[in-house]
Each structure stands twice: as structure tokens, then as C-alpha cells.
Subunit: 389 residues, 2 copies
């Protein structure tokens, strides 16, 4: 058995002429943590994987693209289970040792006969790379999204391999976000769960175009056990957490950048809120405003739209006179009106950039939240209206 | 004094070459009720009007278009107050007898010198029509929005005159919704308030493109006292309420139809929810999904997007297996998957219509909510990104 996760990219019979599936073989010493969608119509493989990870140690992960197996009823569950059963027979383990994740079109049944035939016939060699896995799980992505990073913990070199897919949540029938991350360290499951949850909150859950999770969104973190970490040293925990977060934030930025039709990356900072929850609520509301997103597309520093949106959010603490807003670092709004020293010419010029920042200081408390979003463009509308069921 | 509200449309010096203002003179026997925006950055005239209506009987209402006097700080308040003071001197009443409403660009100060000069010099004849008033308060509206309706209560003919402005909330710097309604009846203030609140909830507050109210949104209902109504008869109350609601719903449909770039009017019905609040939350969430709105633009019955959105709404009661969805009357989704009897060909054909209905049955309770929205089009994005501050 290898010390690291082994990978096989292959064609399982959903797409034509390219790999559409990946099988990960997880080392024995591993500990695995997953965060899955909160969507109430979670896809069949997500429902089963959540169950399996609580019943047994994950040994293999099967991922397919091209078909989400979501909104497919009992038959969808049966189909995913059949894949898992056939795989477990092949690898001589229990079906509960298998996790499965799918991405692609919603509401269509898997071509299950083809898939099980292929699984049964196939010889798995596990010689593929993380990059080939990243490619096999792509749907509308225009680029392969993978990161490799190493750092030292107590002089031991710790490597992280990570891949993801997702193109800005703007093709929901195809728009699942999936990510698989492996770290060369031994981390107990409870700690691993907490690290992953925290990182996802501040990365994949802090990017959004629509404010909702798809039926299939999942992030998997594998700690393969290769290096022992002394967790009684707080600095070690902090280092591991920081690096996992860093990887997740990098991957999410890749997703936003790949948003179809997107021409801008907009970071929204909410500062000085009375609670973390409120800061998050405000950031989401601002980032989901079409009027703000279209203004950004037009390179228009339309602060009136941002303030109007801020004022319309229900049940939040807000004192209009205390609000200060900066766009691209320029003081734009204060004391309930346009900032008297605001240099509109400079502000206008700065809006031509690809990366825009909107900073809202509420001056009411100590809680901050930031998130990344993209602009709303004519191309976005074309892409999403031209798709035909 | 006239039995009915008198109207003067005129130019107050904000726009060039057309009327940009209206003054309403309200009969002595009247009772007036207002519903104003919940936006925390409410415009200066809104803040003052709320105060005045609680201090004195409204005798005159001044409305201007072209400038919202919102996000204008203390100076904005002073300017609105100055208009009211000058008008009250002219009409020999207290400034508290004046209400004021504004619509137009956010963040710019009123041309106050011009305005007060004009008010002081002008001779008011009050000979204008409701239609000319509707025209004078237009901003990005492409059509005049006015309705006149009569009905019988205890054999007395009751007439309602109503106007509004607003073009689908899609040009927020211009996108205030204002409405003025007069009914030929004597209705005590507490009853009038409750009638207006209920009607607005089921009309102007049930249309939305962005889910938020502008800084200036206001609806004014004048009961001019012309006809005594026997309110001890329940059927009379119901009749009055029904007709006011009907007027409000008609006006709001006019606003949605006039949404810039809109090609579809989509009615979303949420049925069988555990509470009214939840039904409303779901309807808003569905109606604000860009993925659903772009699909509608493309005449695509993309039920996967609707179900994915439904599933992503936090903190609502939902049992996926119980959900049934109909699009344009066709059973589309049931038992967690595409309805087995769904005729996709017929469904696809029906999507070409201008009026689309999406009906979601939760089968959990007795509460319903419906709302109207428009589609998201490339024209919407063009209009809203081309605007320059």
C-alpha cells in the first residue's frame, strides 16, 4: 500500500472521447473528512457518502462527471449503490468503504449498465496524476484547477495536493463544486473535521454568485498519515490550519475567476458588525445584488446602489450615520452621504481594474466577514439562457 | 373646497422641458394613510413625511421626480424642509400639513434655490388630471400608469383614482416605486391603515426583481370622505378591501410589465407551507434566482434549477419527497424526480408564452404566498451596466 492516495482517471461511459471518472485509493493510515452541500435535494451519491463515512473507514472514492445523479429519486440511490457494490467486490472491501461523488446534469439517471460493466471489466492500475483527475471531473470549467504546496512543520516537509472543479456556480445543471485535498500528515478525525469546516466556511462558502449550494457540492480532505504531527504544540495546529485554508481560498478564487462571462473579481469586506452572522448576511446580500453586479460590469462606482441594498437588508443592526464605505480604497460614503473628499475621477479610473474591492465599515462591533463574487455580464445571461433542457 | 383631491402638475426646475412635479390638494374631510420603504437609508422626504403625518392632518402632498433626495445627509433634510415651509406659507397652513415624496437619482442635492423660487412665484390652479400627475412623476417608466375604477357599496357609487410610477426596480438610482390612490369614501384612519398595509403586502411587496425596497418607495391612500360607508356591515369592508387590493395588484403588474429588458412575467405560487412567513421566504428566494430568471428568458423549463434553489433555502420546512412542482400547469416534478407523466414537448412549447407560472406545492401546511417577477435578460444587464454615475 502506498503512503499517498493513488489515482486512476478513466472513462466510465458517460462522456465520449475523454475521461469522465476518477477512482482514488486511500492509504490505510488515512483519516478522511468531508463537507457536503446543505441543499435539501442533496444528490444520491452525497446521501450515501454521508452515511458510509459514519459506518466505515473510506478506502476508495469514485467520482464521475457528466451526470449529477441528483433529483433522480429512489432509482438514483439504487444506481449509486450499485456502482459502490461493484467497486467494493472488485477491491474486496465493504460497500461502506466506498464514497461516491457526481457532477453534471440534474434529473437524468446514470447509464448504470454501461458503468457497472466497465467497473467489472476494468483493471485499475492507479498510475494517474492529480492533474489528470482534475481534468476528468471538469464540466463547464475552462481550466484545470490544481495546486501543490509544501511547508515545514517541526522540520518535516508536509505536502498538500489539491484539485477542484466548478465554474462560478453559473451553470447549475453542471455547476457543482467538488474538491479533493490530500495532506501528508496524521490528523485525528475530530481535528480534521474542525480544520475542514473552518476552512470551507472561509473559502468555498465565501464565494457565491447565487448564494446557494448545488445539490452535489462536496469537499473531501484526506490526511494520509505520512507524517506524525505534534498537536500539543499550538503553533503546529495553526500552521496546518493556515495552509489548508490557504489552499481552499486559492481554489475558490480559481472557481470565481473561471465564472462564465465574468470580467471582474469583486471582494466584499464587511467590517465592524455586531455579529459574525450579521456580517455574513450583509456580505451575501451585497454580493447577490444584480444592480451592484451589473454596475461592476460597467465599471461604474455606483455607490447609491450599494447603500440602497445595504439599507434594505432586514433584521440587521445598522446606524446609517455611522456607515463608511470605501471602493477600491477610496472613501466614497460617510455621514449618510457621498464623502465630501471623494475624488470621483480617481475612483472612476480605478473601476477599470479586474479586481475590485468594496469595503463597508459599520462601526458597531468587532466582527468582520469577507467574500468574493463576480460581476453580472451580458455573456452570463446568454450562456444561462441558451442552455436547453 | 372640492370633494375630491385636486391636482397641479408643474415644472419645479429639476428636469427640462417637462413637468417634474405634482402638488395634491387634499379635501378637508379626508383621511390619509401611507406605507413607506423599510430601507434604513430612507430618503429625507420620507423621513419628514412619516413625522408629519403623525403630527397633523395632511393637506398638501408635494412630489418631485428627477432627484430622490436620498443619501443626502442633513442638507437633504434641510432642503426638503425648506420646500415644505415655502409651500405651507403659500397655502397658509403648517409645514406639518405637508407631505413630500421624491424619486430620481440618489446622492445628489436638490436644486433648492430654483425650487423654492418657483414655489414662491407660482400660482397654483389645481386643474390637472390624474394622468398628467402620473406623467410628471415618471422616471424610467415607458408608459403612464393610471387606473380609474368604480363600484357600488350599498348602492352608492364609489370611485377609485390611482397612479403609480416604477419600472421593475431595475434602475435603482431611478427606481423608486411611488403610488397615490384616492377613494371616494369616508374611512377612519385606523381602518384605512390596515386596508393599505394588507393591500401593499399582497401587491407592491409581492413584486420584486431584487428583493429589496428602494430608499424612496411610498404608497399613499387618501379616503376623501365623499361617501359614508356603513362599516358595521362586514360585506362592505370586504368590498372596499377587495377593490383597493385589486387596484394595487393591477398597478404592480403594470410595474413588472414595464421592467426594462423584461420579456416574461413570471408568477410564483408557493402552496401548502407551514407558515405564511416561510411561503414568502421561498417565493422571494425563487424569484431572485438569476439561474431561474435566465432560464425563463431562454424559454427553458429548467426544473433542475428551481428545485436546486428550493433545496438551498436555509431554515425552512421541506420534505423533498412531498414536493410537487407544476410549470405552466404541467406536472413537472414529484417524488424527488421528474414527474413520470411529464410531457416535455408540451411543457417546452408552453414556455414560449409571455406569462409563465411556477407552482410549488410543499404539502406541509395551509399557508400560500404568490408573487410576480420578470426574467433576467441581456437587455437588463446592458441597461444597468451602461448607466454611469
Amino acid at each position: 500500500m502506498s503512503e499517498r492516495t493513488l489515482i486512476e482517471s478513466f472513462n466510465i461511459g458517460i462522456k465520449k472521447g475523454c475521461d469522465d471518472s476518477v477512482c482514488f485509493s486511500i492509504p490505510d493510515n488515512s483519516c478522511v473528512s468531508i463537507v457536503t452541500t446543505k441543499n435539501k435535494f442533496a444528490a444520491a451519491p452525497v446521501i450515501l457518502s454521508r452515511k458510509h463515512i459514519n459506518l466505515a473507514k473510506p478506502k476508495y472514492i469514485l467520482v464521475n462527471s457528466g451526470n449529477a445523479n441528483a433529483c433522480t429519486g429512489q432509482q438514483g440511490i439504487n444506481n449509486a449503490l450499485l456502482c459502490m457494490k461493484n467497486l467494493s467486490k472488485k477491491f474486496q472491501c465493504k460497500k461502506e468503504n466506498i464514497l461516491m461523488f457526481s457532477t453534471g446534469i440534474i434529473g437524468k439517471q446514470l447509464p448504470i449498465q454501461k458503468m457497472t460493466n466497465l467497473i467489472n471489466k476494468k483493471t485499475f492500475k492507479f498510475k494517474s496524476t492529480w492533474k489528470s483527475a482534475a481534468k476528468a471531473i471538469m464540466t463547464t470549467d475552462s481550466t484545470i484547477k490544481s495546486i501543490k504546496k509544501s511547508f515545514l512543520v517541526d522540520n518535516k516537509k508536509i505536502t498538500i495536493n489539491a484539485i477542484c472543479k466548478g465554474a462560478g456556480m453559473i451553470e447549475p445543471n453542471m455547476a457543482t463544486m467538488l474538491s479533493f485535498i490530500e495532506i501528508d500528515a496524521k490528523i485525528p478525525r475530530s481535528k480534521l473535521n474542525s480544520i475542514l469546516k473552518k476552512s470551507v466556511d472561509k473559502s468555498f462558502n465565501s464565494i457565491s454568485v447565487d448564494g446557494d449550494m448545488s445539490t452535489n457540492d462536496s469537499v473531501v480532505l484526506i490526511a494520509n498519515g505520512k507524517n506524525q504531527i505534534n498537536f500539543s504544540k499550538n503553533s503546529n495546529i495553526i500552521k496546518i490550519e493556515k495552509n489548508i485554508l490557504d489552499i481552499c481560498q486559492n481554489l475558490s478564487k480559481k472557481i470565481i475567476s473561471d465564472g462564465e462571462g465574468a470580467t471582474k473579481i469583486i471582494t466584499i469586506y464587511i467590517k465592524g458588525s455586531k455579529s459574525y452572522k450579521e456580517a455574513k448576511k450583509i456580505a451575501y446580500s451585497i454580493s447577490n445584488s444584480n444592480l451592484i453586479k451589473t454596475a461592476m460590469f460597467g465599471s461604474d462606482p455606483n455607490w447609491g446602489r450599494i447603500i440602497a441594498r445595504l439599507g434594505s437588508i432586514e433584521n440587521i443592526n445598522l446606524i446609517p450615520e455611522k456607515v463608511i464605505m470605501k471602493i477600491n480604497g477610496h472613501n466614497t460614503f460617510s455621514r449618510g452621504m457621498q464623502d465630501k473628499l471623494c475624488d470621483l475621477k480617481l475612483l472612476n479610473k480605478s473601476m477599470k481594474r479586474r479586481e475590485i474591492s468594496i469595503e463597508i465599515l459599520l462601526n458597531l462591533g468587532k466582527y468582520d466577514f469577507s467574500m468574493i463574487t463576480s460581476d453580472l455580464t451580458t455573456k452570463y445571461v446568454s450562456i444561462n439562457s441558451e442552455y436547453t433542457s
